[in-house]
Symmetry: C2
């Protein structure tokens, strides 16, 4: 019988995720499956929680990977924290802010939004004004907007909420592992990420963390969480304590991969990893500049790991991406929504953020364009 | 730095899942990650759909793996099919029937149940009477009740529903890949499974299939699916058609594993695989009988892949399981709910169902008891 997996060639993944995966992470995925209640596995779970707490800079006890991709992390945060009729403010400047609005609305939240032009950041002053007019149960924002490459001022927004009862919810899908995140210092109450961006693990898990007051909100719900699979009040009994009550079977081998991916980041050193992202970002921008390719986002709020670049005049969007993939084994990303056909999204996420990859892409673009 | 993954010893997984994983499936997990929109990956997705349709014996176009574990499959079926106030009948004779009740209730369904003693099957005649009294939007049952080892009469219940507007929803978490399932012949409208049972792939994905009329019910909803992550009306646009619209990033490497696991089953031949399960089940029962260990479930409705056995008088439940794990590298499962402390659950799922494993367990039990 023909096997559809043979062969799978190595592609340099320079799109908006998944990113390149280190061979030790791939090797971890293929270690022997053991039971989800095996003491050895419980030890690995505990180690992952400690790794995540370290990288999130938090003491939050509820710091675990959810058994789904990054979007399941978003779903987990909203479905646990929101009850019908709760007023929620969502700050939107791209696809993933819009996704938050969709998720929260489906759950019956009363959603207000503040919208900012795609490619520009959330303006803290406008958030401050909005908060002066009305109080919210939750304010939510995307840290690193993957659809545009913009960094939003999470720490500043967190400052506005300190001393209030409002919970601060942050999407860190693209930022986690690629730039500094300090949950406790910034006053973040709930955060989610994905494994396939700067953690450089294949997609399939969503690291989340909830502050004690966010957990208290979940435990004080008037109604059960309307999602059995993602109900944190039950999931914590598997991830915490001494009895480890079975809820659903954990994605064992994926968790091996996440452990190893976090291990690599902590071994290299958090600051070194962030510096590597920034240095390769700068090299990429310089290289693109020489090719006459300019950036969508102003330097002041550019993400290092997600670079939105204008498609040069005369270049065929899909044809160029296809040629890069077929002839040069490099994947870059297309634009989304209003930016489709106008930009490419070049990822320098995690293991991808290496000088040799920047160089390879610049040479390939030169050849293709 | 110490690495929590080193070493992970091989355990013979004879519990209620996860099951033993073939080395070719582990190898598949560690193949190079490629993009979720890469044409090569789209080809693998299409191949998985065909494998699943073959093994489910269905022409259902919507036959895909959901990006979560088996319980996410349960959640997907209910959250897409149920609208608030819908009358739903759930047939319960174990933990997983109860879980269905919990999931459906959280979603606002009006749930009626028929309860049967744990360790005995659903009685079709009682279902028939119930259906004569009241009509339901959905009737739901677990095919192979993992908590007890009982096989429920899915084909017979399906017969009762033919020609009605009632949708038939089946939990095939433990049966899929280990015994015959014929969706189209049996009139099943929605089914879900998990990868870590008889498919012998690590946990992390939930194969599902929806009939055309189930899809029509989802598309005709008055309200949006209250779960963005599992909304099939959006997910099908990624799994079907020519444009393949991004919804969430698929769990790429887990899907390699699922492909390879299904490949092995289809290569060995479906009938041969089911026969292997039955033969090893019989050998296990005979071996246990010699040790004076008897079965919970009557032979007429025993599952081959999940064997519930009475804990022998004088044996310490936890101590025996711990000794098997530590001294013999064999995992078996504990009882759940009212059967906790009374039974062990011995899995012969997928790749685990081999004569050498049966023999190893019998010898180990002899040594430990």
């Amino acid at each position: 019988m023909e096997n559809a997996l043979d062969p799978i060639e190595e592609i340099t993944l320079m799109g908006p995720g998944p990113s390149c995966v280190d061979s030790s992470v791939l090797a971890a995925l293929s270690k022997h499956t053991i039971g989800h209640l095996d003491p050895k596995f419980i030890g690995i779970m505990d180690a992952i929680k400690e790794q995540m707490k370290s990288l999130f800079h938090t003491d939050n006890q509820l710091t675990i990977p959810v058994s789904g991709t990054g979007s399941a992390g978003m779903e987990t945060c909203f479905v646990n924290l929101v009850e019908k009729g709760d007023p929620v403010l969502i700050l939107i400047n791209g696809v993933f802010g819009m996704r938050m609005q969709d998720v929260a609305t489906r759950l019956g939240a009363k959603v207000d939004t503040l919208n900012f032009e795609w490619g520009t950041p959330v303006v803290t002053e406008q958030v401050k004004q909005k908060l002066a007019e009305k109080s919210y149960i939750i304010v939510a924002v995307v840290h690193a907007e993957t659809s545009t490459g913009v960094k939003n001022p999470v720490a500043e927004i967190g400052e506005l909420l300190k001393g209030t009862d409002t919970l601060f919810l942050v999407d860190a899908v693209t930022s986690f592992g690629g730039m500094e995140i300090r949950l406790d210092d910034w006053g973040v109450d709930a955060i989610y990420s994905g494994t396939q961006k700067c953690l450089s693990c294949p997609p399939g898990l969503a690291p989340i963390s909830f502050s004690d007051r966010a957990v208290a909100k979940v435990k004080a719900r008037k109604t059960k969480v309307p999602n059995w699979y993602l109900d944190l009040t039950m999931i914590i009994n598997y991830w915490e304590g001494t009895t480890r009550a079975y809820h659903h079977t954990a994605p064992i081998n994926m968790l091996y991969g996440l452990y190893q991916a976090l291990f690599l980041i902590l071994e290299e050193g958090e600051d070194a990893v962030y510096r590597r992202h920034m240095e390769n970002h700068r090299a990429l921008v310089a290289g693109l500049d020489k090719l006459g390719i300019s950036m969508l986002v102003d330097e002041s709020c550019r993400l290092p790991m997600l670079n939105s670049v204008y498609i040069p005049d005369g270049a065929d969007d899909a044809a160029v991406r296809s040629a890069l993939l077929k002839e040069h084994k490099i994947e870059i990303g297309a634009g989304l929504g209003p930016l489709a056909g106008k930009i490419w999204r070049i990822g320098l996420m995690g293991h991808t953020a290496r000088p040799e990859n920047v160089e390879k892409l610049i040479l390939a673009l030169k050849a293709v364009l």
